[in-house]
Structures are given as C-alpha cells and as structure tokens.
Symmetry: C2
Subunit: 217 residues, 2 copies
C-alpha cells in the first residue's frame, strides 16, 4: 500500500475546487442549472456533496463560480484581438474586419476542442438565453465590457449607423454565437449531415460571411 503523497492544504483546496467546478460545468452544460443536483455533482467530482457548500456556499454560488472561472480568459483573448486589429487597421477599419476579429477570437478556443471549455460555452449559451435575473447574482453578463469595445469599433467602422443599429447588429450576432455554443445537434439532423454542430471552423467561416454581407457574394 503506497503512502499517499503529502499535499499542502492550498493544493488540496485548489484541486478539490477544480474537480467540483469541472464536474459542475459538464453537468450544468448537459442539463441546466435546475436539471442537476448537488449530489450528481459531488458524485461526478468524486467528493461528498457537502463539500460544494463548504467551498461555494450554495448551488447558485457554484454556478456563478463556474461562469466566473473562465470569463477573464475569454475577455482577455477577445480584447487583445480587437485592440490589435484596431491598431493594425487604423483608418481602414471595416465592419467585416471587426466581425472577423470578434468571431475568430471567440471560436479559436472552441476549435481546439478542450471538452471543459466547450461545456463552459454551452453553460454561457444557456445563461444568455435565460431571462436576466433567473439566477440571483447574475444580472449583467461578465462579458459586457468587451462587448462595448466591440460596439465601439463597429461604430468607428460604420459611422452612418446609429446606436440602435449597432446594438441590434450585436444582438443578431450574439444570437448566432449563442446557438452555436449550445451545440444542440439540430442543424445536423436538419441538414441531413451537411452541417455538424461541432464544426466550429465552418461555423466561424459562415458566421463571418453572413454578418459581413449576407448570403450572397
């Protein structure tokens, strides 16, 4: 019988939290906040359910922690992409360029196919299509700030558009992204296999095209 490696409290704490967050992320993605029990999560994390409460207080607290965990990273990737595009493009900034930058930075992580990250996106998709205030503590979105940057760049690229135009444009794009993240498999069936919900490369390409100039050209 091997002696268990001695781990510092800091490590034990961190590893347990990560295991719980990983399990919660996967299960919330599959079944939604109310479709999963703390017992399910504990089991998947190989940890007693009471430990969730020790670390995250309530189930809603755990959900918020799941969302918070990767939000900073997503924001950083998007912000850097947008800022460096704006710097490079200068006065040549275009709607197509801004859209491409936003969409590509958004999907380049998904394309690598890390299962945890994909689950995260599915959770975010659910959050996006749930009435604001459905989960206490989740009124705004942690991505709002970078979205404002996106709209700012759009405004610069399309001075003729007014604010409502710009925000509605974002709304439509956001809907397309959200549905893609949900990976429901419906388009696969509908297209008789011509499209695959998990093919983020094709999704990004078509999204950029559609939101740059519609279907034609």
């Amino acid at each position: 019988m091997t002696a268990r490696a001695r781990r510092t409290n800091r490590e034990r704490r961190g590893e347990s939290q990560e295991r719980i967050l990983d399990a919660a992320e996967a299960l919330f993605a599959r079944s939604g906040f109310n479709g999963v029990s703390t017992k399910d999560i504990g089991q998947a994390a190989d940890v007693d359910p009471s430990l969730l409460h020790y670390y995250f207080d309530t189930k809603a607290g755990l959900y918020l922690a799941v969302i918070a965990r990767r939000a900073g990273y997503v924001n950083t990737v998007r912000r850097q992409a947008l800022e460096s595009y704006a710097a490079d493009a200068g006065p040549g900034i275009s709607v197509a360029g801004v859209v491409r930058t936003y969409v590509e930075s958004t999907f380049e992580l998904a394309r690598q196919g890390d299962e945890g990250y994909l689950s995260y996106l599915t959770v975010i998709a659910q959050m996006n299509s749930t009435p604001a205030g459905g989960i206490p503590g989740l009124e705004g979105t942690p991505f709002d700030e970078v979205v404002q940057l996106f709209v700012d760049l759009l405004r610069r690229a399309s001075p003729a558009s007014n604010d409502a135009d710009l925000y509605w444009f974002y709304h439509m794009l956001s809907g397309a992204i959200t549905l893609s993240w949900a990976r429901t498999g419906r388009i696969d069936k509908l297209s008789n296999g011509q499209c695959r919900s998990t093919d983020f490369e094709a999704i990004a390409d078509h999204m950029i095209a559609v939101f740059s100039h519609g279907l034609d050209r």
Copy 2:
C-alpha cells in the same frame, strides 16, 4: 348564490386543459422545464396538480403538449407566407425577399403582443437552445418541415450557394430569432435603453437588414 352554469363534459375537459396549458406555458417560459413544479402549475391554473396527470400523464407530456398546441398555427402562417411570396415573385425571387417573408411572418404574431403567444415563443427559444433529446419525445422540432421549405426557396434565390451554405445561413438566422424570442432583457441594459427586447418591430426590421446585406447600406 348563483347556480353554476351547466357545462358539458366536453367543455369542462377543454377548458381545464386550456387553463393548464396556459399556466404551464407561462411558467415554463419564466423558469424552464426543471424550474417549475406540477404544484406551481396546478396553483396557477387553479386546479389540483393531479389533474395534470389525468390529462397529460407526465410533466414531460404536458411540456410536449404546450409545444404542440400552437405549432400547427405557426407552421401554417409561415408556410402560407412563403408560398404566396414564391408565387408572386416568380423568377424574381431573392434572398432578401425570402428572408423578409420568413422573418415577418414569424414576428407578425409576436407584434400583436398576446402574452400567451409571447410565452410560447420563449418556451420554443429554450427548446431550441437545449441539447436535442433533453426532453424525451422531443428529438426533432415541429417546425422542421417549414424550415425545409424556407431553405428550398433560399436555394432557388441563391443558386450559387451549396447546401452547407444554406443550412448555416438558416442556423445563424435561427440563432438571432431564438435569442429574440427569449426576451432576456440583456440588450436593453447593454444598449442603455436604446434597444428594447420587447420591440419586435425593430427586431424584425434589423434582422431583415442584417441577413440581407449585413450592417452597411
């Protein structure tokens, strides 16, 4: 004390079912399938919860019945609009025309603002962004057939596009529609009041514009 009007069994049955469906529709829209109990629904319908089981067997059966109730109507409205557009346009059929017809017929009902119908759309939005197979008996969508008609017309209007292009185009449009139906209120906050989630006229106008030619022009 007034004697209660004598109602036929057929009437009692129909009225109770409608009350239950109305209540379920509103509550499912607000909190999702797993966020609502049969007790909540019975209470809102002013009926004992056991009656739900008498009529709809299980809670999932009730959910399916909510979805089925208005699906035929939505399909009829959409199909008629698309067919009469195609007939009128003849060889002059265009992507912009097909999109306008699909979007307008989809939203003209929502614009009238019937609260029950709006709840219905919110339920459909949730269904659309939930993994297929999350609710037993709900693999395909009851709207698939008319969607195929939409894609057929698109194909006629844009012969240069291949099937994947067409279905991905529908996917993006569907995402925008779905997010709009969800009426989350997020765009209101994000745009600082410039856009309102409930303004289906503005949504339809901007959706048609974006999916016809992007943001510019």
